[in-house]
Amino acid sequence: MEMNDKDTLTIVEHIKNFARRHSLFVLAYGTGCGAIEVPPTMTSRYDAERFGIVGRATPRQADVLLITGYLSVKTLKRVIRTYEQMQNPKYVIGFGSCTINGGMYWDSYNTIKVLDQYMPVDVYINGCMPRPESVISGFIKLQQLIKAGKADGWKKYQENLDWYRTNQKKVIKNWNMPDYNW
């Protein structure tokens, strides 16, 4: 039942996207200070599990990578490695100011400023740090994007890998990481 209209998703895609957006498994990696608002989001007061958002221990099991704020160069290296280990489709949510334009660490010698130079970001959440409500809104936004077939950062990453690599290697001096095959 394929439809020829380029802009229309196939029925199969629709079903896939339905499944994807209602089981967003989040990788438990607190990369920055925004991680402190993740436990309240996940636990009883805000209970993100209502939306199928569940924490997962390893990148292989996870769909969503939360970049909870700033990334030091040292963490960036681990984050890239983690991101590349995640299975497609995968999504990245940027928490707060630091991921957008450096936030309060705009002149720090050890943190990157613009996250989307190094990896694709699907949704940004306003705040420093974002409240649990904002985090949930971020997830809802991500669900909407998935539904519309627009959360395709992972495709962008594959297509523009060279560009990302160049940027990544500019800050990560010792690139001793394996290449992952998606």
């Binding site: 040292k74 290296k77 010698y109 050890n110 800050v171």
Partner: protein, 189 residues
């Protein structure tokens, strides 16, 4: 309390004549030691004065005097008097002396200072990087390291904010005011 401090100051000056001892304005007692005497002094304080708790080791870069200052902050659980031991070291090619045989946690402090200031510690040749990774510029905590310039060079800024204007130049441009050179250092930045 102040009696205790004075007694302490007195007995410290007697027992450690190689140091200058003074009562600090903001509490506690301060000892100034030379690099050579430092380890002996600290060991003595620990053994005979009850300064068992090493709170902190800090380093201050006095670029103007071309010196590093190491500050050892000690605490006595009984007398409850803070003690500062300070030592000045040469900034270029200087080195401190490790005290990790006295307090094992000093090891971490020394590694950090070595990394962040480029000040090695004799007796602590721990090669592991503590905080930074593959750092190849000047040690970042040195006063002459310009973090803004470095960050501008190393990272990207998001474009879109180039149209920002400076209030002072807008006002002076509009009024035709010519700001003389003598005034420029006083202009708000």
């Amino acid at each position: 309390m102040s009696d205790n401090i004075q007694n302490l100051q007195k007995s410290l000056s007697e027992r450690l004549p190689q140091c200058s001892v003074k009562i600090r304005k903001h509490g506690g007692v301060e000892l100034n030691s030379s690099k050579e005497n430092l380890v002996g002094v600290l060991a003595h304080l620990r053994e005979h004065f009850g300064y068992r708790h090493l709170s902190h080791i800090s380093c201050v870069d006095w670029l103007e005097q071309n010196q590093f200052e190491l500050v050892y902050i000690l605490w006595n659980y009984e007398s409850r008097i803070q003690l500062f031991v300070k030592v000045r070291l040469a900034r270029e090619n200087g080195s401190g002396i490790s005290i990790r045989h006295l307090w094992p946690q000093a090891d971490t402090y020394e590694r950090e200072i070595a990394e962040m200031y480029g000040l090695p510690f004799d007796g602590n040749e721990n090669p592991r990087e503590l905080i930074l990774e593959d750092w190849d510029a000047m040690p970042p905590m040195r006063r002459d390291f310009d973090t803004r310039a470095y960050s501008k060079e190393a990272f990207y800024d998001r474009p879109g904010r180039e149209d920002a204007k400076d209030v002072r130049s807008v006002i002076s441009g509009r009024s035709g005011e010519e700001i003389p050179e003598i005034a420029i250092p006083y202009t708000r930045k």
